[in-house]
């Protein structure tokens, strides 16, 4: 366990906290931690149940963030700082085993056999990265130099080794967008939202590290929806000479020298295309994952066809599940950027606080 992490055990006998409303948050990623901080600030007693030894969720796998290349550690440090400054509990390496509603409260049993009572639940189980092995035609985990965007993040750290066959630096690199997103074959019809800009960010980072390399991005559409995204895309083309080709790869194959032969169609010129590359990066999308489906089953809340959790409505109740008292925060509801996740988490905290206060008022009446 990380030395910087403080473990506070849930203590139901704490008299001061007994007077407060207790909220259990399932998931200690960005959404869970931000919701916990905001609810603690609002005067509630909060316990976070996190399955891993450390907080931060998928943020731990990222090195630098779009659109301004901020080190991911800065966000993680900010989350940790908020935690250290506040008095809420985290049950590490723990998962919810069962959850039952009784007399207006939730009785929760965890995998480490703790019994908790809660007045409200926030599900913040996040997402899982698409397993690129399912796109068999790209040969991930079979061909030596096919990697995912998550793998590349680790290589982009200052000590990351970017060499390929025979210890040489890659001269030509290709990115494939929408791997496991908007894809009938993998069963994911939705857009994962963040992969396009991740590809642009990573292509620029690679170009900075390997100025002589040719970099190609194979895309269907480029969805630059966020602040500064379009500008970064333009900069990638104008300043870094990164080539964007509208076309999806049909397959990749490994050559005798370990380089890769890729086949695609350039749909703008309407011509098939074959290219040799030294490194192929698969921009993998988001999936709801086992944690979210397990939480849905335990909490008795519904999932969308995509597997992400169903919200009470798409506009005004995006933090509400279909079960009263169970709220939703972050990318367990849909693919989201870190910015959007933080905002969604804060709105979840506000909705929980409002709901608890309304219930208190009703009880008094």
């Amino acid at each position: 366990m990380s030395a910087s992490i403080r473990v506070i055990r849930y203590n139901p006998c704490n008299q001061e906290k007994k007077k407060m409303k207790h909220i259990v948050i399932i998931g200690g990623g960005i959404a869970g931690m931000e919701t916990a901080s905001a609810l603690t600030d609002a005067g509630h007693w909060v316990t976070v149940i996190e399955k891993e030894a450390q907080i931060g969720g998928k943020l731990n796998q990222w090195s630098y963030l779009f659109p301004d290349f901020m080190p991911a550690d800065q966000i993680k440090s900010a989350l940790q700082e908020k935690y250290h400054e506040r008095d809420f509990s985290i049950l590490h390496q723990s998962e919810v085993r069962s959850l039952h509603r009784h007399n207006g409260q939730f009785n929760i049993e965890t995998s480490d056999e703790q019994q908790l009572k809660a007045d409200a639940i926030v599900v913040a189980t996040g997402y899982e990265l698409f397993d690129a092995r399912r796109k068999e035609e790209y040969g991930y985990k079979i061909y030596d130099h096919v990697i995912t965007s998550a793998d590349l993040e680790q290589l982009l750290l200052p000590d990351g080794d970017l060499t390929v066959a025979a210890g040489k630096e890659p001269k030509r690199i290709a990115f494939v967008h929408c791997v496991g997103s908007r894809d009938e074959k993998s069963g994911n019809h939705y857009c994962s939202k963040v992969c396009c800009i991740t590809g642009v960010k990573q292509a620029i980072e690679l170009k900075k590290r390997l100025p002589e390399a040719e970099i190609y991005c194979f895309y269907m559409d480029l969805r630059m929806y966020g602040k500064h995204f379009e500008e970064l895309y333009r900069e990638a083309q104008e300043k870094y000479d990164i080539q964007f080709i509208r076309g999806r790869l049909s397959e990749a194959s490994e050559k005798i020298d370990k380089s890769l032969l890729i086949k695609a169609e350039d749909t703008l010129s309407g011509r098939p295309l074959k290219m040799n590359v030294d490194l192929l990066v698969l921009l993998i999308g988001m999936e709801a994952g086992k944690g979210t489906s397990a939480a849905a089953a335990t909490c008795g809340i519904g999932c969308e066809e995509s597997g992400f959790l169903k919200t009470a409505d798409a506009f005004l109740k995006s933090n509400f599940s279909q079960q009263e008292g169970i709220f939703l925060a972050g990318s367990c509801t849909a693919p989201m950027s870190i910015n959007d996740t933080i905002l969604h988490a804060r709105s979840a905290a506000m909705e929980v606080d409002h709901w608890l206060k309304s219930r208190c008022d009703n009880e008094k009446m």
Binding site: R133, I142, S253, E254
Partner: protein, 354 residues
């Protein structure tokens, strides 16, 4: 290349293959292209593995080539396939073993159609009843004949006299495997190992001591592709596809090519001869061609069968370089001998790399 990654894919695509009691349906074109292969398969199953396999001489072409060439309508091919199933049902069998990849794809496509659209099944039953008076059951198990050889590959290895090993160097022979497109590209779950990294032939090669060559154009079409060859003006397209594969596999110095399709070994074999005639180019070692085998021939060689009894003299690319590497004894004088030992005359257009 990481073998453990391939093993993971193979584990995801395993299928049930019946253990015994097969109703065998032959291919209409293999009997011309590689006439000894189907007989070799029956011999292996009956004499070596002691399995019950039955064929009815009244079965017909599945008409798949006509279907894929837009000559035979879907309703007609469904009824033809239903008749094959009727013959199987009448003979008391439930497991069908299919020699041809095109037919295998057709049978799977039609059975899946009947599952998704039961009205098509009802219509087909009615057509068959009205035209032949027959009824039928859908097979419980549909296996390609190569699935069955794959299933018993270890047993064949134990019974075998030869290995896919260079007897002079002791090194595994490097073998290119090529599956027919309709084996698993239509329905990946129907093929052992799926569509991208099929294991059906790779498993045989490994079990019998060889090394599988994975080369960049492995997935590319052999050059048959129905229209590419059936329409004479497209044949340049056919040979250019095959050539693309030869150029891609050449750096790996393969000792042989094996396939489980009627068309693929035909074109990979014949076009090597044509390319040598046209360009003087050969793709094997020492100016020779790369010998091309069917999987039945490969199994037969492992089991010690005489290559000429299996019809390997019908190949246009000489198979002798492979036989020599495996240390297989053969009589060159009997290459074109009939059953009575007398020479029946050699074909004119053979001998790529000869």
């Amino acid at each position: 290349m990481k073998q453990e990654g391939k093993i993971k894919v193979w584990q995801d695509y395993q299928k049930e293959i019946a253990d015994d009691h097969y109703f065998y349906v032959r291919s209409c074109i293999r009997q011309n292209f590689f006439p000894g292969s189907e007989q070799t398969f029956l011999k292996i199953l009956r004499s070596e593995l002691h399995k019950d396999i039955y064929e009815n001489p009244h079965h017909t072409s599945c008409s798949g080539i006509g279907y894929h060439s837009d000559i035979v309508p879907f309703g007609t091919i469904q009824t033809i396939v239903a008749r094959q199933f009727a013959l199987m049902t009448e003979a008391g069998y439930q497991n069908i073993a299919v020699s041809c990849i095109t037919s295998f794809g057709i049978y799977n496509e039609i059975i899946e159609t009947w599952k998704e659209f039961p009205a098509e099944l009802d219509k087909t039953r009615e057509y068959l009843k009205r035209s032949t008076g027959r009824t039928f059951e859908i097979p419980q198990n549909v296996a390609h004949a190569s699935d069955i050889v794959y299933k018993f590959r270890q047993q064949i290895a134990e019974l075998g006299h030869n290995r896919l090993i260079n007897h002079k160097t002791g090194k595994p022979l490097k073998i290119v495997e090529h599956i027919g497109c309709h084996y698993s590209k239509m329905f990946p779950s129907k093929g052992i190992g799926g569509a991208e990294f099929p294991h059906v032939l790779a498993g045989m090669i490994e079990a019998w001591g060889g090394e599988v060559i994975d080369y960049p154009e492995r997935r590319h079409c052999c050059g048959f592709g129905f229209r590419q060859y059936l329409i004479m003006s497209n044949r340049g397209y056919s040979i250019s596809n095959s050539r693309k594969k030869f150029e891609s596999m050449e750096p790996y110095q393969p000792d042989a090519i094996v396939s489980n399709c009627p068309g693929c070994p035909m074109f990979l074999d014949r076009w090597q001869y044509v390319i040598e005639e046209m360009e003087g180019k050969t793709y094997g070692q020492n100016g020779q061609g790369i010998p091309v085998m069917t999987y039945e021939e490969m199994a037969g060689l492992v089991l010690g069968y005489d290559p000429w009894d299996m019809g390997m003299q019908m190949h246009q690319t000489n198979v002798e370089p492979l036989l020599d590497k495996m240390g297989i004894q053969y009589n060159p004088d009997l290459k074109y001998a009939g059953k009575d030992g007398k020479t029946i005359g050699s074909p004119v257009m053979v001998g790529c790399g000869g």
